[in-house]
């Protein structure tokens, strides 16, 4: 099954952050696909394909139906958490300058415009 690479990136960030949080809070360091799907409230049938992909990418290790963050996965999960917080302090579209997040990619620009037109963007 081919995967939308943007969706892969989104799920990767979401999943690695969640697994890092579970690990750091002592909830689980080696959850199963079912436990992760409950935790994130997504169907395990969908999540399993992504888990397989992230094992192939070296972000997770899978053994006996359980998944553990690799060093790379741990670093990524922790970093994306921090990056998301940085997003909240970035300028909104109305405060656009050369560093505005809407210049990051065509998708970001489209999303920014959509939010602005939809009235939900504070800019």
């Amino acid at each position: 099954m081919s995967m939308d690479e943007l969706e892969v990136l989104r799920v990767r960030d979401e999943l690695l952050q969640a697994m890092y949080w579970m690990h750091s809070e002592g909830i689980s360091s080696a959850p199963t696909a079912i436990e992760l799907s409950r935790f994130l409230a997504v169907p395990d049938t969908i999540l399993t394909a992504y888990l397989t992909r992230f094992v192939e990418d070296g972000l997770l290790e899978g053994s006996g139906g359980r998944y553990v963050l690799t060093d790379s996965g741990t670093e990524s999960g922790k970093r994306t958490f921090a990056d998301e917080m940085a997003d909240l302090t970035r300028p909104t579209h109305g405060e656009c300058d050369a560093d505005c997040w809407c210049h990051d990619s065509p998708e970001a620009a489209a999303e920014c415009l959509h939010e602005r037109v939809g009235g939900s963007h504070s800019g």
Partner: protein, 137 residues
């Protein structure tokens, strides 16, 4: 189900009959008391009627609160394990907590009326006593 009628279980736990989205003001309240880690919040939610069995629900709620800028989190370094997220309330979160508390006060008045009218028929025991009596039957 038409969406207006909630499915009430035969033997409901407190969390199953609490107002919808009650977790949200509870988290704001706990963080108003003091900043906390996720695990600490899980423990402190128990007296408010929430089970520890669904940490994912807490995680998703915290993420939503953070996205809404009602809560912010920072890394707290640990010498004995992985760094942990420490959550704290923002000014906006404090305002929403106040609005929620005001709304809950109105709900409380309605519940008092309901219970007062029901007590015309049956005198209710406090929940803990009811449970122990049932267990001894």
């Amino acid at each position: 189900m038409n969406g207006l009628v909630a499915a009430i279980p035969a033997d409901p736990t407190p969390a199953q009959v609490l107002p919808k989205n009650f977790l949200r003001p509870c988290l704001l309240l706990l963080l108003r008391e003091h900043p906390a880690h996720g695990y600490d919040l899980l423990e402190r939610l128990r007296p408010l009627g929430f089970s520890r069995d669904d940490p994912g629900r807490l995680y998703r709620a915290l993420r939503a609160l953070e996205t809404d800028e009602l809560v912010r989190s920072i890394w707290e370094k640990s010498s004995s394990g992985p760094d942990r997220r420490m959550y704290e309330l923002t000014r906006k979160g404090m305002e929403e907590l106040h609005d929620s508390a005001t709304a809950l006060m109105a709900t409380d008045e309605i519940l008092k009326i309901f219970l007062s009218r029901y007590s015309e028929f049956v005198a209710l025991d406090p929940p803990a006593r009811s449970r122990s009596r049932r267990g001894s039957d």
